[in-house]
């Protein structure tokens, strides 16, 4: 089982490196296919949204603290708080709420 983890890590590292390497070394002209370009543009937003919800509700000890962290995270990001600030505040919200309800 343990050696398998290293194969997983190798697969992760190899795929991620190739994704970053190939455009930098091979593509010297701009991508022209509009649909493909648009697809790549939308991918990060869709995939991060899909990964965040509903997983955030199951990440904590209570569904309610997870929901509160989601709402706090959305509001803080909306009003321009930094990546670091949003991450820390989401954690703080969960901690405080679970002091009360868990």
């Amino acid at each position: 089982m343990n050696y398998k983890v290293y194969i997983y890590i190798f697969v992760m590292a190899a795929v991620i490196y190739l994704i970053r390497l190939l455009p930098l070394t091979l593509i010297r002209k701009k991508i022209t296919n509009k649909t493909f370009k648009s697809f790549l543009f939308y991918v990060p937003y869709v995939t991060l949204a899909v990964m965040t919800f509903p997983a955030i509700l199951e990440a904590t000890d209570s569904v309610w603290s997870g929901l509160a962290a989601l709402i706090a995270g959305i509001l803080l990001s909306y009003f321009g708080v930094s990546l670091f600030g949003v991450a820390v505040c989401s954690c703080a919200v969960v901690f405080v709420i679970e002091l009360i309800i868990v």
């Binding site: 997983y8 890590i9 455009p23 701009k30 990964m51 965040t52 990001s77 670091f84 991450a87 901690f95």
Partner: protein, 241 residues
């Protein structure tokens, strides 16, 4: 050569706030790694070799589910597909004569944040700027991940529970500000979350592993958006900054 060391120092300086942020965020990634059963060494290795938050998160989740290697490869491709676009944009920012060696080294650490600062540099990009930023940010990313694994055992459960949402907070901080400026992205974020919720609850579909659900939903929704709302060049370049 003098020019290179000047750029290296500038990269170091600009990399410090990024490194501090990485340290805190990767700590929560370490907790995910610990929950997936990885040792501190394995988590540090994975973090240092991938330098990817969403990719690391998805990877550790798949490891805990004992997914196939093919599923891992496809998921990593989908989750990190944005780096294709960023790397392509960076290739335009480099002087055309930049050697393949320099291009290969920069490629190792094309992250949201380092992409952001290197595309923001005036004129052409000197690879030594990236090397400076990488020098501070990669060790912090790896060390934070390792500490997350180790401290996860020591910290009280209430703190671990709280820190588990840090990564999601970071994801929100990446997707919400562009959603505020761009109605299509805002709509996509809402639809993505709604469908993701539905997929996790519906009979039959909820049996699919979460990794496959991420792939299927991302491809379907992004492709539909690309066909219905093709992106204009100017719009894309401002949003990526």
């Amino acid at each position: 050569m003098n020019q290179n060391s000047k750029w290296y120092k500038k990269g170091l300086r600009d990399g410090i706030p990024i490194a501090l942020g990485y340290f805190a965020v990767s700590f929560t990634l370490g907790i995910v790694a610990k929950n997936a059963g990885l040792s501190a060494f394995q988590a540090i290795l994975a973090a240092a070799l991938t330098n990817a938050s969403a990719g690391g998160y998805a990877g550790f989740t798949l490891i805990s589910e004992n997914a196939s290697f093919l599923e891992m490869a496809i998921t990593q491709f989908i989750v990190n597909a944005r780096y294709l676009l960023m790397a392509a944009a960076l290739s335009q920012k480099l002087a055309p004569k930049t050697s393949t060696l320099h291009r290969s080294l920069i490629a190792f650490d094309v992250t949201d944040e380092i992409f952001g600062i290197s595309i923001g540099v005036k004129g052409t990009l000197n690879p030594f700027y990236n090397y400076g930023a990488m020098t501070v940010s990669i060790p912090c990313w790896a060390a934070g991940t390792g500490l997350g694994v180790l401290m996860g055992n020591i910290l009280p459960q209430s703190l671990v529970s709280a820190l588990s949402v840090g990564l999601y907070g970071m994801f929100l901080a990446i997707i919400i500000p562009p959603a505020r400026k761009n109605k299509v992205i805002a709509g996509l974020v809402i639809i993505s979350m709604a469908l993701s919720f539905a997929f996790s609850k519906l009979p039959l579909i909820s049996g699919i592993s979460s990794g496959m659900r991420i792939i299927i939903l991302t491809v379907l929704i992004s492709l539909a958006a690309a066909v219905l709302f093709p992106v204009k060049d100017e719009e894309q370049s401002t949003d990526e900054l």
